[in-house]
């Protein structure tokens, strides 16, 4: 028996020692790191950032979330890249020609566009990547973005083949793409990381090239140096990048800290150069000088279910919408300086004449309790209601959603005299119920994938998976169809203006607020650009 005990103790000691040794090594590495950091601090510009968590995938056709995009958008580059003004600019493509019918784009890739391993970026790399995006085998959640390309949808749903997708490398540096319809915003769409190229040679040798730092080939402003999964990613300036002289930072160090509170505390102890604001500290911090508030294209809104009583009636829908004071919600509930939404398309999209979409269409949904009461009365008369059928408002379980839901409950009671019941369910359950039209009145969010209002507006055409209201309007469907195919840009925008007005007229949804991105920066950081469509840009960033 004693022997067993000894053996057990020995094993335990060994494990503990092993654990401690692993520690010491890790410690040493850290010391080395900080040593170089300290010495070279005067010359090396290292930006310390936090990305929250491990990216889901750094394979461009696969990674379809902001965490992956933050990294990808700085490691790689598509044909176009969004400029400081959020408009697409020539990037890997030096120039392009558009055919007269607006359907065929011919991209000319720069001579000096190279991969970080020295290979030239070829048109074939784009063809390879875009077809991978659409390949049903890839199972990419971003595949729908490629449906603008002729043959893309057919390939993705198994009816066509890769050869039918109209993306062709004419030669090493020329790529020809034919679209289903003239798509005025195609240059915007392809700035999305889903359309970044993939080095075909590397990918064929090692299909998992994107899973580790050693095998990762980049063609953007930075390249990958180290990737400790679940801990950090370090990227360094890419000396093969065609526009490397613009890039000022030497290194970007990405931590993966999921909690905003911790992130803020690391910022305070100088381990991060920027931070988000923890929600419980918004009151104290949001007015600081170092706070930078930028737009994020997107809308926080509520969906009516027009197939459920009493929201089949447009007047009742409007009454509910007009009983909501959006300004009060952003001032006293969310307190994150979001802009109260009185329309559906968020500000920041400019039409060919330079007018902002929001300014052109103005306020479409305004707080008006008197009119709301009036409309409710009329609506109830139309439907023959003596008493309004019970209304349940549903949101997915979350403190922030709860606060807004409770405020709405209050506003409906005060301004309409209607008592709605609140209900919350876990996100997945909520989402399924909403898609299945089981909810009466439910919370929603839309964040833009690319920089054109049609991205949001087309959600509400008949049969769209994003519709989820049961609302269907032939005129609206037609307007959106025209907005997607019209070659005359000004006309295209006029269709979208009209569509939004129609949406407000019919009110299958009502808006709460537009989104924003709020960060606190250290004083010596400049030039970080956050595009409203959610990609982060460090190409112009600097650290003094």
């Amino acid at each position: 028996m004693k022997k067993w005990l000894l053996l057990f103790l020995a094993a335990l000691t060994f494990t503990v020692l092993a654990a401690c040794t692993a520690n010491k090594d890790a410690g040493k590495k850290q010391d080395d790191d900080s040593g170089t950091k300290g010495e070279a601090a005067s010359e090396e510009k290292v930006l310390l950032m936090n990305n929250g968590e491990e990216p889901s995938s750094l394979n461009p056709p696969e990674g379809f979330d902001s965490v992956s995009w933050n990294v990808l958008n700085n490691l790689m580059e598509g044909m176009t890249r969004l400029g400081k003004d959020d408009k697409p600019e020539a990037a890997t493509a030096e120039s392009w020609d558009v055919s007269e019918d607006g359907k065929t784009y011919t991209f000319h890739i720069r001579e000096d566009a190279n991969w970080s391993n020295g290979d030239p970026v070829s048109a074939g790399d784009f063809e390879f990547a875009w077809k991978q995006l659409l390949d049903p085998e890839t199972g990419s959640p971003a595949a729908f973005l490629g449906y603008f390309i002729e043959g893309g949808e057919a390939f993705n749903n198994g009816e066509g083949s890769a050869d039918d997708v109209m993306v062709t490398a004419k030669d090493d540096k020329t790529l020809e793409v034919t679209l289903k319809a003239p798509t005025g915003f195609f240059l915007h769409v392809i700035s999305n990381p889903a359309f970044f190229p993939v080095n075909e040679k590397v990918a064929k040798e090692n299909p998992e090239w994107y899973a580790d730092a050693d095998s990762f080939v980049a063609n953007g402003p930075f390249k990958m140096e180290t990737w400790e999964h679940d801990s950090k990613i370090v990227m360094v300036k890419n000396d093969q990048y065609w526009d490397k002289d613009t890039v000022k930072l030497d290194k970007v160090d990405w931590a993966m800290v999921p909690q905003t509170n911790t992130e803020y505390q690391m910022f305070q102890s100088n381990e991060l150069d920027m931070t988000e604001i923890p929600s419980d500290m918004a009151d104290q911090l949001i007015d600081g000088d170092d706070v930078v508030i930028e737009d994020q294209a997107g809308l926080y809104f509520y969906r009516f279910n027009v197939e459920k009583e009493p929201f089949q009636n447009v007047k009742i829908r409007k009454a509910f919408a007009m009983a909501v004071d959006q300004n009060k919600i952003v001032d006293f509930v969310t307190k994150n300086k979001e802009e109260a939404a009185h329309g559906f398309v968020s500000p920041g999209f400019t039409d060919p004449s330079g007018t902002d979409f929001r300014e052109a269409n103005g306020d479409l949904v305004t707080f008006d309790p008197e009119k709301a009461k009036q409309l409710l009365k009329e609506g109830m008369e139309e439907e023959g209601y003596d008493k309004l059928p019970p209304v349940t408002l549903t949101y997915s379980t979350d403190e922030a959603h709860k606060a807004i839901a409770e405020t709405l409950q209050n506003m409906f009671s005060e301004n309409l005299g209607v008592d709605v019941t609140l209900e919350n369910t876990e996100w997945n359950v909520f989402s399924e119920d909403q898609k299945a039209l089981k909810l009466q009145l439910s919370r929603s969010t839309f964040l833009f994938d690319y920089g054109d209002p049609v991205n949001f507006l087309e959600s509400f055409i008949t049969g769209s998976t994003m519709n989820r209201t049961g609302w269907s309007n032939e005129e609206y469907d037609k307007l959106i169809e025209k907005a997607k195919t019209e070659t005359d840009q000004q006309k295209r925008w006029d269709y979208m203006y009209e569509a939004e007005k129609l949406l407000a007229e019919e009110m299958p949804i009502f808006p709460i607020h537009y989104y924003n991105q709020v960060y606190i920066y250290k004083d010596n950081i400049s030039g970080v650009v956050r595009h409203p469509v959610g990609y982060l840009e460090l190409k112009w960033a600097d650290k003094e």
């Binding site: 028996m1 057990f8 520690n23």
Partner: protein, 310 residues
């Protein structure tokens, strides 16, 4: 001994099979799917994704596939991080959680026992009250509150330790304190109460009468008996702490495996749910088995196996 171990092993396999089956049933009966994004992917993309992960197969096929993956210990790729297999995730996360856990347990056990003994020996004196007030505080303050407090005071204000992330021994200090305080308090209280009981036993009086030093009495005669309840809770404590803790790992941005237990369920990442469940249950059962063996060493009255003839 061997027969006992084999028997336990067979029981273990059956238990795990039951757990796996129950988990599978629960998993497919909760609504939602891993591809339930707010953005709403269209039906084709959705169908492609489901086919890619065999989710379009009938349930019994999926169940058999799961059983196969468990037998071969290959859970396939995670759905949410398609470039990683579940084995990668666990293989990377477990050593980190284990490292944090083992240090935490050592700190908690040693300091807990010392506190408990001190309190018992100075029963109803100042040290006793101080130690027990400390223990009550330790039990009642949730570790995430303590964690935030520690970061604010020791990392941000005093700058003694790094606030978060995981790369050097210094990074370990705060999470270990946050994580060890609760178990330490429990162990201290347990040790104190059993110690008090043991110290009134006849054989302790006998030892005193023999003129042994108090130190020798405590270490040689009292402590071994007082440790039984501590060992009992150690099994579950080891399993839960060594496999990572969701909240502490999240607050300190520690790349352990704790997060997978919670997030895989929220995200309906089926392979990860199965992987973590099997791993955790196997680990827990193994720890309980170790505890049973340890009983035998601590208390010769407990027999694990029947001797021949009886």
């Amino acid at each position: 001994m061997l027969r006992y171990i084999l028997k336990r092993f067979a029981m273990m396999v059956i238990t795990i099979w039951i757990i796996v089956t129950l988990t599978f049933i629960l998993m497919v009966s909760i609504p939602g799917s891993p591809f339930n994004e707010e953005r709403g992917t269209n039906e084709t993309v959705q169908a492609n994704l489901e086919a890619h992960y065999n989710l379009d197969e009938p349930y019994y096929i999926q169940y058999l596939l799961y059983l196969k993956s468990i037998v071969t210990f290959d859970f396939g790729p995670s759905i949410k991080q398609p470039t990683e297999t579940v084995n990668d995730l666990l293989g990377r996360g477990f050593p980190v959680s284990f490292e944090l856990g083992i240090v935490t347990i050592i700190v908690a056990v040693i300091s807990g026992i010392i506190l408990g003994i001190m309190a018992a020996l100075r029963h109803n004196k100042l040290i006793d009250y101080a130690a027990m007030s400390f223990a009550v505080l330790g039990i009642s303050i949730p570790n995430f509150v303590l964690a935030t407090l520690l970061i604010q005071q020791l990392a941000v204000n005093l700058q003694l330790f790094p606030p978060a992330t995981w790369s050097s021994p210094a990074h370990m200090v705060l999470p270990v304190i946050a994580l060890a305080t609760g178990p330490m308090a429990i162990i201290a209280r347990l040790t104190r109460s059993t110690m008090l009981e043991v110290l009134t036993q006849d054989y302790i009086k006998m030892a005193r009468a023999k003129g042994l030093t108090p130190w020798k009495i405590v270490v040689k005669h009292a402590l071994k008996n007082a440790l039984m309840p501590v060992v009992t809770i150690l099994g579950t404590l080891l399993a839960s702490i060594l496999t990572g803790t969701f909240v502490i790992e999240k607050i300190f941005a520690i790349p352990g495996m704790g997060k997978y237990f919670v997030e895989s369920i929220n995200q309906r990442d089926y392979p990860v749910i199965m992987g973590t469940t099997v791993f955790y249950s196997a680990f827990l059962i193994f720890m309980l088995f170790l505890v049973d063996i340890a009983y035998g060493f601590l208390d010769p009255r407990i027999k694990l196996h029947k001797k021949g003839g009886e």
